[in-house]
């Protein structure tokens, strides 16, 4: 039984690590896109400047509620389901 708990803890840790890394990644992608949007809208004020940084900061405020951020929780769900599928496949087929 302790082996099963060890597996659960290990898998949860791995998934949490991947969740954090993926969160950093998609937020970075979004920030890059926002900077491009700003540069398109304000060609005169393109490049790194305080106005653009403020625009990006404000646009990122609600990003945790966006669909992509919510889909990120699949990182916890899909591998766990895959493991359950393997357990079922190997032992009950």
């Amino acid at each position: 039984m302790s082996a099963l708990f060890r597996l659960i803890v290990l898998v949860l840790l791995l998934e949490a690590m991947f969740y954090l890394l993926l969160r950093i990644y998609i937020r970075s992608l979004r920030r890059e896109r926002l900077e491009e949007i700003w540069d398109e809208r304000h060609p005169a004020m393109a490049g790194n400047n305080p106005q653009r940084a403020e625009f990006v900061r404000k646009a990122m405020v609600g990003y945790d509620k966006a669909l992509k951020s919510r889909l990120l929780w699949l990182v916890f769900i899909i591998p766990s389901l895959a493991i359950m599928a393997i357990v079922w496949w190997v032992n009950w087929q």
Partner: protein, 223 residues
């Protein structure tokens, strides 16, 4: 240096290949001839080829495990021996704990050369006779004839998933480099440029002053 890199790369590729070849499931079409248990000495040299810990078998004080074995014959007449051992909950990730059921299934499918019952055994691992290592059987499917070779979906899916993961990690690293490392390097670079510029400007000024002073001694006017 170039050759060292090439050799290291080839060795790494070989290691990855061997690791995948050992861990991913492989399928063989064969006929089961016998199933039995045998006390098996697990030594330090071949422990890596057995279950990570004693799960589902009995291990005695001398470190021998009562391992289940499945003997089989391939259509070309060559023999094959599988061990049938629970993997437990850790590695390799097959999470197999039904080896008793699998053993019953294998015993049920035993057949003779006269009336063969062909099966496809899915297993992982290698048969290394001098290390007493056996592949571990995972599942058994019945087949209609010895020429049937079912597609190895498990290994295919695992390979595709790992490739996708590799591509994702590569993209993540590229993004991190572009957005975090490169700007940091650039700002350090700029600061270094500014510092060296200032130093060289001060040095030039100081030199100008020294030459000016020297020239004043030679009767030349200061510039």
């Amino acid at each position: 240096m170039h050759y060292v890199k090439v050799v290291m790369g080839v060795l790494l590729g070989l290691l990855v290949f061997l690791f995948l070849d050992y861990t991913l499931p492989s399928q063989n079409t064969l006929r089961i001839t016998n199933t039995y248990n045998r006390l098996t000495q697990i030594t330090s040299s071949n422990a890596i080829f057995y279950a990570a810990e004693d799960t589902g078998t009995v291990e005695n004080a001398a470190g021998q495990r009562d391992v289940r074995f499945i003997e089989a014959v391939r259509p070309n007449g060559k023999v094959f021996v599988y061990r049938n051992e629970d993997t437990g909950w850790i590695w390799p990730p097959y999470f197999k704990y039904d080896s008793a059921n699998l053993h019953a299934e294998a015993t049920n499918l035993k057949s003779t050369a006269a009336a063969p019952q062909w099966v496809s055994v899915t297993a992982y691992g290698w048969r290394i006779p001098w290390l007493t290592a056996y592949p571990n059987a995972i599942s058994i499917d019945t087949l209609a004839n010895p020429n049937e070779r079912p597609r190895n979906w498990g290994a295919l899916i695992a390979c595709v998933v790992m490739l996708l993961l590799l591509a994702l990690i590569w993209r993540m690293w590229a993004q991190f480099r572009q957005r975090t490392i490169d700007p940091a390097v650039k700002s350090v670079d700029d600061r270094w440029d500014r510092t060296t510029e200032r130093v060289s400007a001060e040095a030039a000024e100081a030199r100008g002053r020294v030459t000016g002073w020297w020239n004043s001694w030679k009767g030349k006017p200061r510039r």
